[in-house]
Symmetry: C2
Subunit: 189 residues, 2 copies
């Protein structure tokens, strides 16, 4: 049900998530995860440092999608750079990943330590984005403001994407959320 891709790594992530839902995060051991995925403990540890990492292992790729888009973009307007970074992040969340993302978020929010880790991951992305924007010539404080705002848009769009009753693809929601942020902060007519 929460499987969205093949391969040992993905099977381990799906097995971990299933077990976290079935019996709780704290109660689940690495050995149980490995057994459920049909691999040895050693195989688990080749992919992840610990059970927590099975939930967070994708972060580095997500950071790379955001910053890589800024680095490779031919745009000059800072807002266009941010917009391209958001569009690139959508690649991480294809429709077939929705069920997994929904369940993962429920598990993370149910555990305060995991929820904190998730928030800190977002801070890391904002800082990495600000760095990339500075390297593309965006001055401070605009680079930091835009790095954080991009992550704000991402977080709100992601929450919309996984909410029940929402069926638009994440790319549409990212664009719509950016547009709503701009409207909210625009001068009153």
């Amino acid at each position: 049900m929460t499987r969205w891709a093949p391969g040992a790594r993905e099977r381990l992530q799906a097995a971990a998530l299933d077990l976290f839902v079935e019996q709780g995060y704290d109660e689940t051991t690495v050995s149980q995860i490995a057994a459920r995925a049909g691999v040895t403990d050693r195989t688990f540890f080749r992919h992840f440092a610990d059970k927590r990492e099975s939930l967070f292992a994708g972060s580095d790729r997500l950071v790379d999608l955001f910053t890589g888009a800024v680095e490779r973009s031919t745009a000059h307007d800072p807002l266009d750079l941010a917009s391209e970074a958001l569009a690139a992040s959508a690649e991480f969340f294809p429709p077939e990943r929705l069920a997994w993302s929904r369940t993962r978020t429920a598990v993370v929010l149910a555990n305060p330590a995991l929820a904190e880790r998730e928030q800190l991951k977002m801070v890391t992305i904002a800082q990495a984005l600000a760095r990339s924007l500075r390297e593309r010539g965006v001055p401070e404080p605009a680079a930091t403001l835009l790095g954080r705002s991009t992550v704000t848009v991402f977080q709100v769009a992601f929450d919309r994407w996984i909410s029940e009753g929402e069926d638009r693809p994440v790319l549409d929601l990212l664009q719509d959320t950016l547009s709503q942020l701009r409207t909210t902060l625009a001068p009153s007519a």
Copy 2:
């Protein structure tokens, strides 16, 4: 040097900060802090649960300044509500607090666990602000976007305030930073 107000509570906070700078956060004990402030350990624990709280004890008042301003405001425009919340937060950072805030930030940034706590404090403020904005009739996702953006502006303005060579009061920097965020996100002319 880092003392900015009288009273046992403030003396304990100043003593703690001085010791964290002199000998390191991890190396400092509650007994050393109490002795430096000229009070007993018991007095320390009447004010703070542990040494970490001597650095974070003001958070609740800061949250109240932000949310209280939104709750009491007569404004209806969401952006005006956010702007009033920012203005209210300036009360927490009078000029005589600058040296203390600078030193506190250096101590917090030097310790990864404290830096994480600081970031999570900001997430808490953003969530509280979004709640207050919703109670004032701001719909979602605007309330969440604006709550987070207000905190983004606050964080950037605060970092500007404590930076060397900056001599504007925090209120000016909050207003200027909000204005810069709006310009950064405004449609290109």
